[in-house]
Every structure is written in C-alpha cells, then in structure tokens.
C-alpha cells in the first residue's frame, strides 16, 4: 500500500480519467493490497475535502464516486460548448459492432466477445436510438433476448445492407500480433503446454 498522499494521487487520477462513476469495489483494484473499504472511504473523503474550493467536485453517487463540474460553473463551461457532436463510449460502439456483425446475438454473446459485462444502459442507449431491437429469444434457460440491428441503423449509417459494413478481415490485418496485456499485473504466463 502506498502512502496516503500517493494513494490519493492515484485515486484522483483514476477518478478524473474514468468515464463513469467508480464504486469502491472497482477502486480497490488500483492497489496491490486491498486497503479495505474504510480506509478507501476515508481517503476519498479527504480527496473530496481537498477539492472543496474548486470548480470541480468529487461526489458520491449510488453507482460510485465521480468528479463533476459544480453546477454554478456550468454557465462558464456552456460558453465553450459549441456544436461539437457528442460521442458514444467505446463500450457502446463495441456492443453496436458486435450486434451488427454477429446478429442475432444475446447480451451473453456480447459479454463473451467483449470479455466484460454489458450494462443495461448500453443496450438502452442503442434501443432508445432505434438502432437495435429484440427479434426473438434464445431457447435456453432464462430465454435471453436476441438483438439485431434495425432498418433505422442502416439508414442512419447510409447503408443499403449489412454487406456494406467494412470487412472484418481487413480490419484484423492492422492490429499488432501481440499478446494482450494480462489483466492482473503479475499474471504468470506459465500455462503448461498449450498454444
């Protein structure tokens, strides 16, 4: 465990860099030794106090902690918000890509491919946009919904059919053939005798 100052520095960077609120269960993974929820909470409260007089604040929400601008500074920030179009997060884009290329797929299929959970809000964002919908249910336990892209998706992307999507093997050629970085910092790569 690093010193409290160093720990706060790491927490601050992680929270500023995050695109979604981070719960304690996530934040503890920043450290080799789990500091425990009490220490973590105390550090976060100290960090919140450090930011007390700034135009950005650290807040604790139902889904975790996040930095956000203070409402009273919004008018200033509003002056800079020209007509830059907002962007979907990588998670949303990857989910959309999987549904487009592998349809019909369940949320479980998407999670398998992405290697991480797919939150309900991602599916909702795409459904709300009218780009995906449920076209059936797989006949397995839980009868999970099968998602597919819609006509609107094709129209909004200027496509006549899915066949006009960029070919996947072309995309594959540009990615470096290296082992993906192990999720755990000290993962042993001593898996015996398999490729």
């Amino acid at each position: 465990m690093p010193s409290p100052t160093e720990a706060k520095r790491i927490l601050e960077a992680a929270l500023l860099a995050a695109s979604e609120p981070l719960p304690l269960t996530e934040l503890k993974r920043l450290f080799d030794d789990d500091p425990g929820p009490d220490t973590l909470r105390r550090l976060l409260e100290e960090l919140r106090d450090d930011w007390r007089d700034r135009a950005v604040e650290l807040v604790s929400l139902a889904s975790g902690w996040r930095f956000q601008t203070r409402p009273e500074f919004e008018p200033f920030i509003e002056r800079l918000r020209t007509d830059r179009p907002p962007r979907y997060s990588r998670a949303v884009m990857e989910t959309l890509a999987i549904i487009a290329y592998r349809q019909p797929v369940t949320r479980g299929d998407i999670e398998n491919l992405r290697g991480v959970g797919v939150s309900a809000s991602i599916i909702q964002a795409l459904e709300g946009r009218g780009w995906i919908d449920v076209v059936g249910h797989r006949d397995t336990p839980g009868r999970p919904a099968l998602y597919a892209t819609t006509r609107t998706f094709l129209d909004d992307l200027g496509l006549r059919s899915l066949e006009e999507l960029p070919p996947l093997d072309e995309i594959a050629k540009t990615v470096a053939l290296e082992a993906p970085s192990a999720p755990a910092p000290d993962a042993q790569d001593a898996r015996p005798g398999n490729a």
């Binding site: 956000q68 919004e74 990588r90 990857e94 959309l96 890509a97 059936g136 797989r138 992307l157 899915l162």
Partner: protein, 263 residues
Amino acid sequence: MSEIAAPVARIYGEPLAELPADLYIPPDALEVMLDAFHGPLDLLLYLIRRQNLDILDIAMAPLTRQYLEYVEAMRSKNLELAAEYLVMAAMLMEIKSRMLLPRPPAVQAEGEDPRAELVRRLLEYEQMKQAAHRLDALPQAGRDVIAISVFIEKAAGERLPDVNLRDLAEAWRGLLHRARLGAHHHITREELSVREHMSRVLRRLQEHRVLEFGELFDPARGVPVLVVTLLALLELARETLVDITQSESYAPIYVRLAHAKPH
C-alpha cells in the same frame, strides 16, 4: 527439445537436415517469416545487421547467397511468397554479376557503384523503421495517457452522437486487439448477408407467430435473396431459434419461433 528429424528445408533441391549455422531460422518460424519480415528490404537489413556488416560496403556474394537461402526455404515450405521478394532476388543477382564484370575505364569513370541504389534504399528504410519505433515509444493518448473529461453537471439539451463506418471499424479493431478474435472469426460478406436475413425472418415471425414456409420467401427479389433466405432459415433452425414442422409428407411446412411452442 532441440532435435530436428525431418529435413527442415531444401536448398537448391538438396534436402537439408539442419539449417546452416549462419542461417538461423527457428524450425517453426518459417510460417511466420513473411509476417516477421516486412518485405525484402526488412529481410536484407536483418541479414546485414546480424553479421555486423557495414551497409555502406555490403559484400554482395554472401548477402545474395543468404537471401536466396531464405527465399528458397520459404518456397520449399510452399509459403506464398510475395512477388517483391523475387524481384529483390533478381536485383541482388544483377548487382552481384555487374560487380564481377571487369569494367572498361570509360564506364568506371562514371563512378556509379552498382550497389548505390540498393544502399540508398536500405538506409532510407532503416531510418524509417527506427522512426516508427520511436513514434511507437511516445506516450500515446488512449494507450499510455488518458485525456481527462469530467462529467458536466446539468448538461443542457441532449444531442445524440453521430456514428459512421469508421467508428464501427475502430470499435471492432479494439475488440480484436483485446480478444484476439482474428483467428477464428472470418465473417464474409455472404455470412453477413445470411445473418441479416436471420434477423429479418425472426422479425417477421415475431409479428405473425407462425408462417407458412413459402410466406417467408419473396420471389420478386430474385434468386440470390431466395437462396440467402433459405440459408438463414437453416441457420436459425441449427441454432434452435426457430422450429420448422411438417405433420406429414406434402403437408404445409410451418415456421415458428422456437419458444412459441403450440399446446
């Protein structure tokens, strides 16, 4: 396990039980050779650097010999050899032969070494290789540093993001990088078209619950669409997403969503 049983290569038709000491190719590396070397210049640079040869004074005979050994080794493994490698082989042999020829004084006066063009290209390429390396070592946004963009409380007037095909390709590239899907997922245009029709059939079955087999086909859209629709139906049946039933021979065939079991 350093034992090599079968001939590893054929050099000029002669089986070679072991690779020559100065031609170290890990036995299973030939397959990845074309990936490892990014073209003939890259391979030449490797050969030159391995022997600590001076690029500015290349000994053509050993270099040409080694290059040809590599090319031959790749060919003997029936690896698809890019034309660029053969063009380079021809160029090397030409330079070598020109250097062997006695040159009349008149020609020598021009002073052009036959290797000059090759050397120029090698140097320029090596320079760019190093540059690529250094660019890759710079801290890269998204990879090594993250741009901060905190949530703006009380965001006014929501605007929906635009998405284009590049964004989609970029998203897939990220997936590939993480999950290494590359090896197993060759989705061709034909497959994509089948998957599109799978979704279409499921959508129609949602509206109608049960459809007669023929109702799923639209002859007006031409033979290719009929074939793709049939393939989509077969795939849906294989994935047990639809039930296809027929009570007796020549009776109508019905298609329904798999879970909508009749009672």
